[in-house]
Subunit: 404 residues, 2 copies
């Protein structure tokens, strides 16, 4: 890890020494408990508190129109400041009607009460099965039990990152060290795109000093647009997706705006790559870069259409350089293209030139875990990368027997 | 089978007696041969000829912008008249550049030569792997061998329906008997929506009498819009999809326009259901009916979004009444809805009322092969049904090891 450097994640850390996570920046405390919501009995509630002196915050939410009660609560109170985030895993509190809304509010109120703050300063996040009423006795007891465990130790952030997991196989943490300030992050979910159990939740903390939340909002919006928003595991979008960034100002250091923006991007990218690597049933990490589009937005749309195509995803699972599926998929993208001039490469080897097969295309080796697909639409300068995964037997196994 | 009646398919016929298919209407001959294109050595070329006296025709093609050479040829010559259709299976002749275009033209010219007609009156269709150059020696020899086998016997249409299969497990034929006239049909493919190997090809014949092709075009457009266009197996769309209807006028009978339109719809629906039932890896036949939409088009769009959601499809595979996935999926549909008032039923049992779980929702039995999902968006009178399938291990198995 560099002093003034790039994002690092747990995989690069020494075993037993947790030096990443949301409590690395000064001014943040976290805690985790077993509230009894997950059938497994594992930790399932986490609390993250900003001890100040500043309480600036920015947040981004799912674009799904069916949104969970905690998203409604947090979105309604997203006014540039949050002092705490209360999270439960194992129950999404989505599609529970007025009862769900009341339960999210009660969770915020209880958290505010034990922390001695206002309920509107508490963000609420839930992840798990849609459509089951939240066990409020367990939730409220969980909040009571979380408060005395709050700690600014790195281990506390680490515990929180584990408590928010659902079908995640590994926890996800990241940190960026600036000169005298830092950013910490944790996330869960198998992708931006997965309802029910696969909600993406990301929590970022920083002790950098800002006058207000506007710079946080700018940096977070720019970063999510090119990281989490470009992660497309299965084309589905959760009712609960939430990304929250809180700034304590505790370092007293005001970072260079460009460095801060870049640092937020690095941490988000690092967490996004961790989410991709732990996606449900993943055996291949696939990046799809579209170039030559009319705009960056059209490039992203085209890359997403390819990334969502089940036949393409099956070919990736089979390490099959069946580039025809890329052509067939991109041909349905609602973007400008020259259908006779499309170029495709797999792992740097041209497999299709001017929409026609290249020599040796069927022999390209895709047996590794990482596959880079590049598609040139031949009409402009637009460019974007979307990250997806293959479609494997495990994905079906995980997702065919969830609620029952 | 009724004299004046509804579409029938092979499953309802006595074993050994083939009374359905494209040669049932008067004036049509068919043939099939083994040209050596399929590695399996099975029949892989078919010829369907309209012997007149009329040669009216209508055709519909894939909406994919990357289109195969045979589609380019047939679309360019779609002027209200075709006298023959030449089909090969095992090679899609897609993404083969100028060579592919020349090969499709040469195939049409050769067919025209042996039949003594004009090349522009020959429709060309190919289905199979994308990106391999067509083995023209085999194709041209195949055409030579097809011509002397042409027969108006029902068995000849049956043989043709088998020669056009790729990963199809069963052939698909249908017939409608009017008073003194009939419609015959054959199809292949595992859905409207599947590139590479899964192209949908449908050929319809009728001996009904018309002045020109306009009524054929109207009837075919209306029928495909509510049948094949509503079949969505995996969200993918082939580069080769083609539906062709030819009318010989040989019966001399001009049917009532409404009956004819309804009959074409019945035959298309029957073939669409056969395609759904034979979809790659299918274990569940799922119908998704959206009601209460702002328009029929919005209802279809919403139903399609649900039908393409992998998490929903996995739940269907697992017979899991996880209605939350329906809500999460439909929430991303770009249509008008009231997110707090959505109703969902599975097989007639309400599982979600006003976007909230209904009592007993988790116990609804989805163990049968047919699952009917109904979703009420609560904003209007629009209604549509989309047919899809579950996402199974077999789908991945079939599609992960195709080209190599």
């Amino acid at each position: 890890m560099t002093e003034h450097g790039s994002a690092t994640n747990p995989a690069t850390e020494s075993v037993g020494i947790q030096t990443t996570g949301v409590t690395v920046p000064q001014g943040f405390a976290a805690a985790a408990v077993k509230a009894g919501i997950k059938p497994s009995g594992k930790p399932d509630m986490a609390l993250l508190v900003n001890n100040g002196p500043d309480y600036h915050a920015a947040a981004k939410f799912t674009r799904n129109r069916v949104v969970a009660s905690p998203v409604k609560w947090t979105r309604a109170n997203n006014d540039g400041s949050f002092r705490a985030v209360i999270v439960n895993a194992g129950n999404a509190n989505a599609c529970n009607g007025a009862q769900g809304d009341a339960d999210s509010q009660a969770t915020a109120e209880k958290t505010a009460e034990v922390l001695g703050i206002e309920a509107r300063d508490v963000a609420v996040c839930s992840t798990g099965l849609i459509g089951d009423v939240l066990p409020m006795d367990k939730i409220l007891t969980g909040v009571d039990n979380l408060a005395p465990l709050l700690s600014e130790e790195v281990a506390a952030g680490h515990a929180a990152s584990q408590a928010i997991m659902t079908t995640d196989l590994v926890h996800k943490e990241s940190v960026y060290h600036g000169k005298g300030w830092s950013i910490g992050g944790m996330g869960k979910g198998v992708g931006m795109m997965s309802p029910s159990l696969a909600t993406m939740l990301v929590f970022l903390t920083t002790d950098a000093n800002f006058d207000d939340a506007s710079q946080l909002d700018d940096a977070l919006g720019a970063a999510t647009n090119t990281t989490f928003d470009c992660l497309d595991v299965d084309g589905s979008t959760s009712t609960n997706d939430t990304v929250i960034l809180m700034a304590s100002g505790a370092s007293g250091v005001t970072p260079d705006p460009h460095e801060f923006k870049d640092a937020i991007h690095q941490v988000c990218l690092d967490l996004a790559m961790q989410l991709q690597a732990d996606a449900e049933g993943v055996t291949k990490r696939v990046s799809i870069t579209v170039t030559g589009a009319a705009s960056d937005t059209e490039a992203k749309d085209a890359a997403r259409v390819i990334g969502r195509d089940n036949l393409f995803k099956c070919a990736m699972f089979g390490s099959d350089p069946n580039w025809g599926r890329v052509l067939a998929a991109v041909g349905m993208a609602p973007v400008e293209m020259d259908p006779e001039k499309i170029n495709v490469s797999f792992n740097g080897s041209p497999v299709c030139v001017n929409s026609t097969g290249a020599p040796g295309a069927r022999e390209v080796d895709l047996s590794g875990a990482d596959i880079a697909v590049e598609v040139d639409l031949a009409v402009g300068e637009g460019r974007a990368t979307v990250w997806t995964t293959d479609l494997s037997y495990s994905y079906i196994e995980i997702n065919s027997e969830y609620s029952t």
